[in-house]
Symmetry: C2
Subunit: 334 residues, 2 copies
Amino acid sequence: MTNPVLVEAIRGALVESRHRGAVAVVDAAGASLLALGDVERPIYPRSAVKALQALVLMESGAAARYDLADEELAVACASHSGEPGHVAAVTRMLARAGLDGGALECGTHWPIHQPSAQALARSGATASALHNNCSGKHTGFLCAACAMGEAHQGYVSPTHPVQRAVHATLEALTGCRLGEDCRAIDNCSVPTWAVPLRGLALAFARFGSGQDLAPGRAKAAARLRAACAVAPWHVAGTGRFCTEIMQRFGARVFVKTGAEGVFCCALPEQGLGFALKCDDGAGRAAEVVTAAMIARFLPLDGAEQSFLDDFLRLTLRNWKGVAVGALAPTVVLG
Amino acid sequence: MTNPVLVEAIRGALVESRHRGAVAVVDAAGASLLALGDVERPIYPRSAVKALQALVLMESGAAARYDLADEELAVACASHSGEPGHVAAVTRMLARAGLDGGALECGTHWPIHQPSAQALARSGATASALHNNCSGKHTGFLCAACAMGEAHQGYVSPTHPVQRAVHATLEALTGCRLGEDCRAIDNCSVPTWAVPLRGLALAFARFGSGQDLAPGRAKAAARLRAACAVAPWHVAGTGRFCTEIMQRFGARVFVKTGAEGVFCCALPEQGLGFALKCDDGAGRAAEVVTAAMIARFLPLDGAEQSFLDDFLRLTLRNWKGVAVGALAPTVVLG
């Protein structure tokens, strides 16, 4: 099955590039509201399921034990930009568990946020694991390991109790059996299990509504969603899509990006979840598709529609700031 | 026409992402040796035709008048990484024409080469137009304008004599009429004309062989190719695909990348040219396709084949350096 073209990059009068992909929108009972392209083929959700992984942080008792605040819970669900505020939140979390950046097993990269990377270089310092966009999630895993009374070393291994708990959580929420044949290693060294988009959409419908979840899990999900709604900057960062959308819509939209063109989203008031992947892994196109799905399934007033329009059709500018084209959804997105 | 999947990104046991595209390989007489996907649809070549644009620098007499050396001619054909050596070559060229970075109309971005960007930040300086990957090409345009006795201001406009000369050169080499309907603005503010891949491949077969070119133009093309073969670092930079390929193969391969997944290439000894575009604009996939075409059409010894294998199947590593997957050509590429 060839997935449809969902987004086009336009330059001058012509389409310059094309992005294909698939989208599943389901309710918490698993009923399909929309399926574009192949929604049954397993895809790696990568960082798009960080909030589901963070359920283990809640359910292990670590969040309560270490008295984690909104910013800290939000950064545990984040692919953050490595700005000083993100690093500070991660450092605080680690300290609560008696740890520091040396315990992180995510590897190192420079901050995604360029001014922060430049400021770091100007200061004469270099990047550390704290700047890795996944350091908050990893700190969540470390806190969970400590609260569970487990050794935190090797917490990234699929056989570590923390990752076993993550695996069980993902199977329960997605309704899919996630065998070793669909397990790969993420760029931050933890396991990533391939799941059909339909299963991911169901997981986020459940995460957003609490439907079909045990009361404790529903409460944990609600707490994480509330934290991200209060502290959306901690989930991504300055100028980032997830942050801007959640700053505007608050608790009405939970949205999270994953590498290689993935997004997962919950619309709690509608009881809906959706998940999408661009075939080619393009994040720029996945953002347009996500904006299109929010515009289609979330009731909007005029100002909200106008806000989303800027994400739905993105003006592309050259190095002089001149508009040279646009990134736009195709008619397939409705 | 749906273009075939040419490259797959593999993670664990599954294909994570897929890149479609088209490739045209032709000889200097225009005979097709290979056509994968739609090679008749016009695509914007972007920076992949910088060497053709630089013919105007030669033919205007500017290269001789300003006594440009190999490094300077190579940087005029470059999408350089903004490393100090690139900036130095551009600065020297500008000085020969009595100009400085203030004359550049390409706009500013930070060096592509991250250590150079960090060193720039550490020094307390900021990026300038000299660091723009297109600054060498723009300096070529400025030198041409001066040698032609034209005002250099506004040299990026399609109505400026330099761009008119570029337009005529592109029409002649590609054998295509390039009307205003296929003209857009590139990210560095100069015009980019959409050309079918077949026409681009023909242009590079001619550029590489001199066949069907007037003697002066054939000599200018040979001089530019020789300069790039001698100074391939100046055409891209440290660790970059174009540089590494031309460092290895010297005058046997001329290769140049363009934004949005484009590559153009000449194999002078075979009298062949090829041009390709990934539908989604992915440079990572375009590099694999280019390596596959070189492996297919250039006679190689064992060491050369082994060298190319590293570009044909690229191991993907996570932030800890662990192999997590690969970028690999599909069987379509042969």
